[in-house]
């Protein structure tokens, strides 16, 4: 297995298209345009990227960003060995070398000085200078950069610089509309559409409360979790409380309201 193969997505991931995003992505990839995907947590951003990598049959390197991440974590660094130092490629460098799709998940979590290292890769240059090593990498023709972030809970501090933003073609994802979402939940867990649509209704309740005590509504991912629990034989109300309500809030009033919504929905 080559280095390239280990990053390949081998099995088709389930992805339900909301409009024509697959075709749009293919067009962006054909032009090797960097892509940005925005959307609330758990709405299918990562799944989409995974699906596209599978569809295009390209390796996918995913980096989960966090605030302790530094430029060297992306690009690479010297490590110490018995005979001196050795250069170790970071994930971004690897992707540029082997021609993978490099997916930086939750990019705003990374510090701004870290984010700028992607700049030369995302314009016409398509190069990555490794200044510490004194090397200039020409990106492989298959290489593409994808970033994702969640504009919902960002504070003033957590926003992308304009200079970063304006290097990407962007998709804006949101939770699918009720019927589609019920279909997704049903498809993911093999449950009846009717029960799935009840879960979706409870999800909608929490999404209505966003900004009124909730930072983020119940995501499609959590709905799938709840459905999985129900599938596993848990009583639906308990499953909803466990998978939908308790994870998202510590606020007693909101918990009460959502519990009431569960009771009201299941009748």
């Amino acid at each position: 297995m080559t280095a390239k193969d280990q990053y390949k997505v081998h099995k088709e991931p389930f992805f339900q298209q909301q409009s024509n995003e697959v075709a749009l992505y293919e067009a962006a990839y054909a032009a090797r345009l960097p892509v940005m995907i925005k959307g609330p947590t758990g709405c299918g951003k990562s799944r989409f990227v995974e699906y596209m990598a599978w569809k295009l049959n390209k390796p996918l390197i995913t980096v989960a960003c966090n605030e302790d991440m530094t430029a060297s974590d992306l690009v690479g660094r010297y490590v110490l060995e018995a005979n001196g130092t050795r250069w170790l490629d970071g994930p971004l460098t690897t992707a540029a070398r082997i021609g993978a799709i490099c997916y930086l998940d939750e990019i705003v979590e990374a510090r701004q000085d870290t984010t700028v290292v992607i700049h030369p890769l995302t314009d016409h240059r398509r190069t990555l200078p490794l200044d510490k090593k004194g090397e200039l990498i020409e990106a492989h023709p298959d290489f593409q950069l994808v970033i994702s972030y969640n504009p919902g809970y960002q504070s003033l501090m957590k926003d992308l610089k304009q200079s970063t933003k304006q290097r990407f073609a962007a998709f804006e994802f949101d939770y699918p509309e009720a019927k589609l979402e019920a279909g997704i939940v049903a498809r993911e867990t093999d449950m009846s559409e009717e029960l799935a649509s009840k879960l979706v209704k409870i999800g909608a309740t929490a999404r209505n409360l966003k900004g009124h005590g909730l930072d983020e509504g119940i995501s499609t991912r959590l709905l799938v979790y709840a459905a999985t629990l129900i599938k596993g034989g848990v009583e639906p109300r308990d499953a909803c409380r466990m998978a939908l309500v308790r994870p998202i809030t510590d606020d007693a009033d909101i918990r009460d309201t959502l519990d009431h919504a569960i009771d009201a929905t299941f009748g």
Binding site: T70, A71, S72, D73, R77, Y78, L80, A82, G84, T85, K132, S155, K201, T205, A206, N208, L209, H212, G213, D253, I254, D256, T257, L258, H260, A261, D263, A264, T265, F266, G267
Partner: protein, 784 residues
């Protein structure tokens, strides 16, 4: 009359009459009836004691009323409390009799039976009497503390209210309520009377606090979230009280100002429990449950009302009422109510449980159509039949129309007009002559979670009355609201260690504008100082990047350390693995609120200066604002003064999102002083802005020149203690309060109150002339 009695009097009765030996003719009128009741309720000794005490009351010199009431009420009181309650009662009345409060004996006796029914036990009765004695002792006036000479003004009013009060609160709650009244109004007879007769607003507010049940106030947030979450609607809630409008029981409704809801709902419980105020169950769900079991919680009752009202908002289209008779309208309302509930339940099936439990089940044969009008009864049955598939009714019309309703709903959402048509058909089918009877059967036909349907109708004509032409139609918008509505804050009462709820009203307004160049001129005047400050500020500015060395994991290899480590390694020693370094930004994260006291005393000249304290404060604040702006910390300025607790003014000078510009300078330039210093309320108000800031450290600077005081507060300590409490509250919210005190009176010890309020977090600036330089310096020192 008296002769007529003696003529037929039973010899035994005559004996009792002599034992009583009371000469009032009114007593003779009722004596036999009372005696008959007493004989059935009391034992032999009980009768003797009864007559003996009645005899005493008769001779007491308070007229005929005490004895009359006692004769009438005691037998029933004795049945609930037991005869042995009499000695305690006697002792109580005797104490009242010996005090100047003799006049209160009659109201006390009048309320006795009702109170006894409420309290049920002698222990509780004793608690109640102890409480009353305490009340009496503390409100009875005295001159020179020697003789109790003035009757308690509130006591008679209190006795009149107790039966009602005890129906709402427990004895302990009553005690708190009384305690509050005495504490605040013991020296003010008129207000005391208002309080104890439940006339004044805070009297009702206090009672409401002691109430049991689910208060709207406590659950507003939950209900608001229910509205948003489940129905995606937002609206205001306006509470109304059920308790002070005995004749016309208000019911929920909504209009453009918001949804009107009762201020409190009791849990809906199976009757028979200790706290049951619920209506009888009829055939409702829960008959098999033990008494006292909660069927629908108060919160769910609110939610039922909300679901119903939202249903109307969503699905009801107003129809013309002019061509329909009142009965037809009522029928249409019942059916429309059923329709919106049906649609609501289609979305949330779980509501059915709540509706089923709350909807009354009128018994089919409860109403005799020959004697009373059965319109409401029929409609309530129809409504139940629509809601409840397992309804008990056999009337073919009810069943048919319930089916027709479901057939209409099965196809679509139907409409208000279709419901009105169905209602007219139902009316035509079931109409009877007796529907016109004046006596209407109401029992079990009121569905208390439904609104009054005022939004369902529109009228072509306002009314038939001819005199209506000059009616002023625009009732609203009489007074335009100036500024923001008041916010109410509690105030700490150190005497009782409790908060007075919603005591101070804070009105917030924009500070008036002045000339911004004045401030620029002030800044220029202090340009030398500004330069010095600038140097200090530069030192304070965050140093952005700081290098952290000796990291096992870091962004870069720290070559010095790495080489050392490598040498260690090569020479066979254990190398230090911490060979990386990383960077971190050290930032400043402080939000500041500057609260200015703008009370009258600022107009005084500062000692040894030509300038007033106000002028100096203005200079100081301008410099500080300039300095903080340079630093880039989020910064707000507010001023306050007060004129009694009803009018605490908070003047907005600079908000967090505003830049330090001419507008702000203009406001600073227009600073004026007047009125008093109610510091606690202003601090609480300022804190709610500061609290919302996202910063690690929150600092509230309070610039004041004197102790908190207001014209409506006699007790000097009160506002000081309140401010101290406010500081504690700020502390709990993570806000650091710091006082800069400009006490002009250079008396030693005059600033003791500052340390009482702020502990050690204060500075007294005695040389006020130096304030302009001291204030920014202080700020810098505080935030270094």
């Amino acid at each position: 009359m008296a002769e007529a009695h003696t003529e037929y009097e039973h010899p035994l009765m005559k004996g009792y009459r002599e034992q009583l030996g009371c000469g009032f003719p009114q007593v003779a009128d009722v004596f036999e009836d009372c005696m008959a009741e007493a004989l059935s309720a009391l034992s032999g000794e009980g009768i003797d004691a009864y007559l003996e005490y009645a005899r005493f009351l008769c001779k007491m010199g308070r007229g005929v009323e005490p004895v009359l009431i006692f004769l009438e009420e005691w037998p029933s009181v004795a049945t609930t409390l037991g005869e042995s309650a009499l000695p305690a009662l006697k002792g109580f009345i005797h104490k009242m009799y010996k005090s100047p409060n003799g006049k209160a004996i009659v109201p006390f006796l009048q309320s006795l039976a009702a109170i006894a029914r409420r309290l049920h036990s002698q222990e509780q009765m004793q608690d109640y009497m102890d409480l009353t004695l305490d009340f009496m002792a503390r409100t009875t006036g005295s001159i020179h503390g020697i003789h109790a000479t003035f009757a308690s003004p509130g006591l008679p009013e209190f006795f009149q209210q107790t039966p009602f009060l005890l129906s709402q609160v427990s004895v302990a709650g009553l005690k708190n309520w009384v305690e509050y009244g005495i504490r605040n109004y013991h020296d003010h007879p008129d207000r005391q009377r208002d309080y104890f007769s439940l006339q004044s607003a805070d009297s009702r507010a206090m009672m409401q606090r002691e109430r049991s049940g689910t208060l709207l106030f406590d659950n507003e947030r939950k209900l608001d979230m229910t509205l948003r979450g489940l129905w995606n609607v937002s609206d205001h809630f306006v509470p109304y009280s059920l308790k002070f409008d005995e004749l016309r029981k208000p019911i929920p409704y909504y209009d453009k100002l918001g949804i009107r809801l009762p201020d409190v709902y009791d849990d809906f419980v199976v009757p028979g429990g200790p706290l049951s105020n619920s209506p009888p169950l009829g055939g409702r769900e829960g008959n098999s449950l033990p008494a006292g079991e909660i069927i629908v919680s108060g919160l769910d009752r609110y939610r039922a009302v909300l679901a119903h009202i939202v249903g109307h908002k969503r699905w009801t289209a107003a129809i013309f009422a002019d061509n329909m008779s009142p009965f037809q309208r009522m029928s249409a309302e019942f059916l429309e109510d059923s329709r919106v509930e049906y649609l609501a339940m289609r979305q949330y099936p779980g509501l059915r449980r709540i509706f089923l439990a709350l909807h009354p089940v009128p018994a089919e044969d409860a109403c005799d159509p020959a004697k009373e009008s059965a319109v409401r009864h029929r409609l309530a049955m129809l409504s139940r039949a629509i809601l409840d598939a397992n309804h008990p009714y056999t009337n073919p019309d009810i069943i048919e129309f319930a089916q027709r309703f479901h057939a209409m709903m099965a196809q679509s959402e139907s409409s208000t007009q279709e419901m009105a048509d169905l209602a007219i058909a139902f009316g035509a089918r079931t109409h009877r002559q007796s529907d016109q009877l004046p006596k209407i059967h109401f029992q079990d036909t009121e569905i208390d979670y439904r609104d009054d349907n005022r939004q369902m109708w529109k009228f072509i004509e306002e009314g038939d009355e001819e005199e209506a032409f000059d009616q002023n139609r625009k009732v609203e918008l009489e007074e335009e609201i100036k500024g923001l509505p008041p916010r109410h804050y509690p105030e700490w009462d150190y005497n009782s260690q409790t908060y007075r709820p919603d005591w101070a009203s804070v009105y917030e307004a924009l500070h008036p504008q002045g000339n911004a160049t004045d401030i620029d001129r002030l800044l220029e005047k202090h340009s030398a100082l500004a330069k010095r400050l600038k140097r200090m500020l530069d030192l304070l500015k965050p140093q952005e990047k700081v290098r952290i060395r000796y990291q096992e994991e870091g962004s870069e290899l720290d070559l010095d350390v790495a080489l050392r480590s490598l040498i260690d390694f090569k020479s066979g020693a254990t190398p230090d693995p911490r060979i990386n370094m990383s960077h971190k930004t050290s930032g400043r994260d402080i939000a500041v609120m500057l609260l200015l006291d703008l009370s009258e005393s600022l107009n005084e000249k500062a000692a040894g200066s030509e300038q007033t304290i106000l002028d100096l404060s203005q200079e100081a604040v301008s410099l500080l604002a300039w300095a903080v702006d340079k630093l880039g910390d989020p910064f707000a300025i507010g001023g306050f003064h007060s004129n009694t607790r009803h009018d605490v003014r908070y003047l907005h000078i600079k908000g967090y999102s505003e830049q330090w510009n001419d507008e702000i300078k203009g406001r600073l330039a227009a600073m004026k002083a007047g009125y008093s210093t109610r510091m606690g309320a202003a601090m609480r108000h300022a804190a709610h802005y500061l609290e919302a800031q996202k910063a690690d450290k929150k600092l509230m600077l309070i610039l004041t020149d004197g102790q908190p005081a207001d014209v409506d507060t006699k007790d000097e300590r009160l506002l000081i203690e309140d401010a101290r409490q406010a500081v504690k509250e700020l502390d709990q919210k993570g806000i650091y309060a710091y006082c800069i005190n400009l006490d002009n009176r250079l008396k030693p010890g005059a600033d003791e109150y500052v340390s009482d309020i702020f502990g050690r977090q204060y500075t007294v600036i005695d040389n006020i002339q130096r304030l302009p330089e001291r204030l920014p310096e202080l700020f810098i020192a505080l935030t270094k």
